[in-house]
């Protein structure tokens, strides 16, 4: 039996490079990455909230700090701009310059786990009772290779948003969708029954997942050219290029503009759309239609789940956990839902009548029950750009769906192999 050599490489070679190239500073930084950081006088939470979400989070933090005053450290919330957030975490936490906890969506999690020293596992703290407190499927999003790394706070997924004046009752199947859309569409005059960013893989995924396809299978293998994905693509291609129901080059900004000018009666978009929609349009939200072409399976859009992570190397993991649990638990989630306007991932928030009876929240919650978490594998980021490219190629009839996805599969697989090859040294 041959044992693999340990991953660190020989220190001699490392010292050679470090001394020779003036990088000893970086090497030292990297070397102390694993030791615990100093204990600050407050638990620092990084978030990228603004407006009422920020106010709600600060309220929860103040409530918690008051409850534990004298027993544990208070919580201090620090806002960090969203666009730089993930990279800041990747750079700061492994070097012990980061927060004790942070709030971010679940899709970068796999990358953080794989690069190490960024997020702490929480299975040890997480009791069965804690697990029951979340809506079904939410914890799957924050679980990577069998280990849970974060507590879900809220979720966002696309649903069907429609103009009530143009569409009195929303379609329940794609067959009805096509019927309504055909009536309302006059492409030459720029009027559409249904519009969405169909060449954006994020939105297409709902249909692909409904057919039983997707980007990866349960084992984590890439299945972009799977027959189910090809069937889903052929459906979109039919809508766009045979039935001429969908607008050309549909950027999200175009979809919003069409809806606001009442030129698009129905759109597929998420809760973020509500902020952009014109206030004078009476809009309704419904679950995306079932796919008639796939035995009436529901569309399963991807959802992104915002979660609270324990940063690796935080001075007191249990204390950090206490706040994470409080925020994701009944008190925290109710405040975040009521005052922050979030779609809570926790059951408890929906016991509040004002939330449970809100038609918009109920519709998004019903859609969330059908949605699937976006894969949290680090390889997922390699999929986006080639998949969008493939979508453009077959929707514009440049080639067949099958051949577009075959090319895409080969391209992404090559990128994954290149990424994985770098890891061949192994990580103990």
């Amino acid at each position: 039996m041959a044992w693999r050599t340990s991953h660190g490489g020989s220190p001699t070679k490392r010292s050679f490079l470090a001394a020779g190239l003036g990088l000893s500073g970086t090497a030292i930084l990297a070397a102390c990455g694993k030791s615990g950081g100093p204990k600050r006088d407050a638990l620092v939470v990084w978030h990228s909230y603004r407006g009422r979400e920020k106010a709600a989070l600060e309220e929860v933090a103040a409530l918690y700090s008051a409850q534990v005053a004298g027993k544990a450290r208070p919580v201090r919330c620090v806002g960090v701009p969203n666009d730089a957030f993930a990279d800041k975490i990747s750079a700061a936490v492994p070097r012990n310059k980061g927060p004790d906890l942070f709030i971010f969506s679940h899709d970068r999690m796999g990358g953080w786990v794989e690069s190490g020293n960024t997020v702490a596992a929480i299975d040890f703290f997480l009791s069965e009772q804690d697990r029951q407190g979340f809506l079904p499927g939410m914890l799957d999003a924050t679980t990577y290779k069998g280990v849970t790394y974060a507590l879900p706070l809220n979720f966002k997924s696309a649903a069907l948003i429609y103009n009530k004046r143009l569409v009195p009752s929303p379609p329940r199947t794609t067959k009805e969708l096509v019927e309504i859309a055909t009536k309302l569409t006059d492409k030459a005059r720029g009027r559409f029954g249904f519009a969405y960013a169909y060449d954006d893989y994020f939105f297409h995924a709902g249909i692909a997942n409904g057919f039983g396809g997707g980007a990866f299978n349960a084992a984590g293998d890439l299945i972009l050219n799977d027959p189910a994905n090809v069937a889903a693509s052929d459906l979109v291609r039919r809508w766009r290029s045979e039935l001429n129901l969908l607008p050309d080059d549909p950027a999200n900004s175009l979809v919003t503009a069409l809806f606001n000018e009442e030129r698009a009666a129905m759109v597929m978009s998420g809760p973020w759309f509500l902020g952009e929609a014109a206030k004078d349009i009476d809009l309704g939200i419904a679950v995306l239609p079932m796919i008639s072409e796939a035995n009436n399976q529901p569309m399963r859009p991807w959802m992104t789940i915002e979660a609270i992570y324990l940063a690796a190397g935080t001075a007191d993991e249990h204390e950090a956990w206490q706040f994470a649990k409080f925020l994701a638990g009944p008190q925290g989630s109710t405040i975040m839902a009521q005052k922050g306007g979030q779609l809570s991932a926790s059951e408890a928030a929906y016991r509040v009548p004002a939330i449970a009876n809100d038609p918009i929240i109920s519709a998004f919650k019903a859609q969330g029950a059908l949605a699937v978490p976006m894969p949290n594998l680090p390889e997922m980021t390699l999929v986006w750009s080639p998949a969008d490219k493939a979508m453009k190629r077959f929707t514009k009839m440049e080639t067949t769906s099958q051949s577009a996805w075959n090319d895409c599969q080969a391209e992404v697989q090559a990128a994954i192999n290149a990424l994985r090859a770098s890891q061949a040294g192994g990580r103990a």
Binding site: M1, P11, R14, S15
Partner: protein, 601 residues
């Protein structure tokens, strides 16, 4: 003379202290790796036994007793062990003093629990603890990791020193002799500062290599006999408990020792150290050090004033540059950022892969637009066409604005500078909207004049034009301002003289205007080429390289490699290639301009 001696002294001080540090590190690493290997064999054997026991339905307690038995039989009672079970978060067995087992884990024992799922199936060596080598292996039942065995090996395995005292003595003697020679022969002295450090480093490397070769087999045999003892004890305990174990006897191969001390790398490190020492020696013995010191002491104020800028440049410009440069020789990606530089080092492989990319697709597959040479070609065409267009429009506008007696010049000038004043990503997004096939202003204008709408982003040519139009809009104001300034400086007398001589306006333009503009326009064109070459925003935001990445330029491609494929090392190499192309262009361009300037004088 004194200088030569101090050169030798400082250079050797550097080499020898560095070598002592390296050798000590290497010896320590070798001993840790050897102890770790034994700990790992022990942990894996115990985990194998435990897994078999759990599968056969034995209790955690029984397995704990069996583990203690194995350690006793193999004479390793000194090793500390823990058996941690995932189910119920139990510490099932332990022989650490003061640790009662079985009991649930404490809050501060979370790392033990986290380790279970963090372990690879065949176990792992962990960071050495203060007590000794540390390893752990998972207990596996039906493919699931249900617990783990952790071993801390208290007895240390230590091998012989990498350089014996006798060898150190010999080296010292050699140094004394050579230093003495350098004193006697002052001409040789300066060179001794160079040669001695290199020689010492070389000899140290040779000694280490020879010592490693003779001792590694010995170390390996020792390790193997320990491993075999643990293995036999495990089998005996298994047999007495009625368990059958699959698999062969664990055997360590030479990779353990080879991995523990990379002889070749150590040798390279020492030689490198020697080189560094030689640099220091040469710096002192050839007088550069004293010259530097003199310069510093003679103008302390000047250097003090420059220091902040110097430090700023070092930290903000040179460090990132060299970091990127070094990164380009590694295969750093998102997944292995934490690994050591030596693990990631790939030499010139990235460059070979970029420059040797002759996969253009074809043979049934789509054309490979990701190919480096295609992207380079697009970038060059992009740069040339943009600069030509920018200069032509800018110059044209400047000539129009320069017409004598033109009314409202100030208004025109302000309006024409506007595209420059608006942030370019806003302009880019606006143009992208204008190129929308159905709702964009451009296609609507084409249709208003009875034309057919163009699918701008569907094929290579039109998609290229979208970027070109946007960038021309962005770049002409700069050229216009430069040209206008230069035009107003042209002496009116020259035109008057030309008119008297009967020159046509065309002749006036070619023979007076253009030559007068050249000193101002040439530098503007040079920077404009660099800007356009790396014009990320326009390409990324307008066409995004559509269709199929055919209209990417080098810099957007590098961005995609780094932030969409997460291959940081490869992207760094790509960026260095871009830098080299621009460097070659810059050198060439500076030569060309200085030649023209010389002609003007």
């Amino acid at each position: 003379m004194k200088r030569n001696l101090s050169a030798i002294f400082f250079a050797l001080l550097m080499v020898i202290s560095g070598a002592v540090f390296f050798l000590q590190q290497a010896a320590q690493h070798r001993d840790e790796a050897a102890s770790g290997a034994v700990a790992l064999v022990t942990a894996s054997d115990l985990a194998k036994l435990g897994s078999a026991g759990l599968t056969a339905g034995l209790s955690d307690q029984t397995i704990g007793v069996m583990m203690a038995d194995v350690l006793k039989r193999s004479g390793r009672d000194g090793d500390r062990y823990r058996l941690v079970m995932r189910n119920g978060k139990q510490l099932a067995a332990s022989n650490w003093p003061g640790e009662a087992a079985p009991r649930p884990l404490n809050l501060n024992e979370k790392p033990l629990y986290d380790l279970i799922l963090g372990l690879p199936m065949e176990g792992a060596k962990l960071k050495p603890e203060a007590l000794g080598a540390h390893a752990a292996a998972p207990l596996v039942v039906a493919g699931q990791r249900v617990g783990m065995v952790e071993i801390v090996q208290t007895s240390k395995t230590s091998g012989p020193a990498l350089i014996s005292p006798l060898q150190w003595g010999a080296i010292g003697l050699g140094i004394l002799v050579l230093a003495g020679l350098a004193l006697v022969q002052p001409k040789l002295g300066a060179w001794a500062g160079l040669a001695l450090p290199l020689g010492v480093a070389f000899v140290l490397g040779q000694f280490t290599g020879a010592n490693l070769a003779t001792t590694s087999q010995l170390l390996l045999d020792n390790l193997n006999s320990t491993a075999r003892a643990v293995d036999e004890a495990m089998r005996a305990v298994a047999a007495s408990n009625g368990l059958t174990l699959a698999g062969d006897v664990a055997r360590l191969d030479s990779a353990v020792v080879a991995g523990a001390v990379d002889g070749a790398a150590l040798n390279t490190s020492l030689l490198f150290l020697g080189g560094l020492g030689a640099l220091i020696g040469g710096f002192i013995s050839f007088g550069a050090a004293s010259a530097t010191w003199r310069a510093l002491t003679e103008n302390p104020t000047a250097y003090a004033y420059v220091a902040p800028a110097l430090i700023g440049m070092l930290a903000l410009a040179f460090f990132p540059f060299f970091y990127g440069f070094i990164l380009s020789f590694t295969d750093t990606t998102l997944l292995n950022q934490g690994a050591s530089w030596s693990d990631r080092w790939v030499g010139f492989a990235n460059y070979a892969s970029i420059l040797g990319d002759f996969n253009f697709g074809g043979n049934g597959a789509a054309f490979n637009y990701q190919n480096f040479y295609w992207t380079l070609g697009v970038t060059i065409v992009w740069t040339v066409s943009n600069v030509v267009l920018g200069v032509a429009i800018g110059l044209g506008m400047a000539l129009l604005l320069n017409i004598k007696g033109l009314r409202g010049v100030a208004i025109y000038r302000t309006l024409l500078i506007l595209p420059w004043a608006i942030p370019n990503y806003i302009t880019a997004l606006t143009w992208k909207g204008m190129f929308h096939p159905q709702f964009g202003a451009i296609n609507q204008a084409i249709q208003a004049f009875g034309g057919q709408p163009v699918q701008w982003f569907d094929s290579v040519g039109p998609s290229f034009i979208t970027g070109l139009a946007t960038n021309a809009w962005l770049s002409f104001p700069f050229m216009m301002v430069v040209a206008l300034g230069a035009l107003q400086a042209v002496d009116e007398d020259m035109y008057e003289a030309a008119r008297i001589d009967g020159a046509s306006p065309w002749q006036q333009f070619w023979l007076i205007t253009l030559p007068s503009l050249r000193p101002a326009l040439l530098p503007a064109i040079i920077v404009s080429v660099v800007w356009t070459f790396n014009m990320f925003n326009v390409i990324y935001l307008v066409s995004a390289g559509q269709p199929s990445g055919a209209n990417e330029i080098l810099v957007t491609r590098a961005y995609r490699i780094a932030f969409e494929e997460y291959r940081y090392g490869y992207a760094a190499a790509y960026s260095v290639v871009i830098f080299l192309i621009l460097l070659i262009y810059g050198v060439f361009q500076i030569r060309a301009t200085s030649a023209t300037e010389a002609n003007n004088k």
